[in-house]
């Protein structure tokens, strides 16, 4: 999936992935897509809750079992 900016949040724990994501979204234009890679299992629910409350759109949520530590990959479109 295409994206405009990528954020590596691997190894970070709550609430850092969300805080970094918020910062990342501030650095792209409305409607652009931020890709976030996290390893915190709690980030799945947290990112869904974040999008629901802020109006940004979660385009996709994928899991990568091949990585050394399971990765969760989010594509988030900044609200217009």
């Amino acid at each position: 999936m295409d994206f405009d900016k990528e954020l590596d949040a691997r190894g970070l724990n709550c609430p850092l992935p969300i805080l970094r994501c918020k910062k990342g979204l501030a650095e792209i234009d409305n409607g652009q897509v931020l890709k976030v890679v996290a390893t915190d299992p709690g980030s799945v629910k947290d990112f869904q809750a974040f999008c629901k409350q802020t109006g940004h759109e979660m385009l996709s949520l994928e899991e990568n079992d091949q990585a050394e530590k399971k990765e969760f990959i989010f594509h988030i479109r900044k609200r217009i």
């Binding site: 970070l12 609430p15 805080l19």
Partner: protein
Amino acid sequence: MAKKLALIASKGTLDWAYPPFILASTAAALDYEVQIFFTFYGLTLLKKDVSDLKVSPLGNPGMPMPVPMPNLMQMIPGMESMATMMMKQKIANKGVASIEELRAACLESGVKLIACQMTVDLFDFKPEDFVGGIEFGGAATFFEFAGESDVNLFI
């Protein structure tokens, strides 16, 4: 209109420093307007240097220990430093943010940090003891914001 979160931070140990700063920084990321009112031992969390925050196993039977031991043993000199050191190591190993980092995130995202003027005077703290960008106020100041907040927590 933005939702509002009002917190009272009343404790000054390393473990109790986390809830107010985690909730405040996250709420700010969720576009909340946030104020934290620091009173009594919570004022410690506003000091310029928060690297000496400690966690005490004494009187805290819920604290996970590497080996089980009677709580009375925790009063032995050095136990507090050891517990603090172990906690800090765990925090770093698990990718948990430091208090400095969370506090900076709060200030950056516009969270208002208010030091309780009465307890500042009570403990003879000086304004220059504290990190920049904070305000001073009393109970009425807190209620001005808390009275119209969606979430109010005492920590």
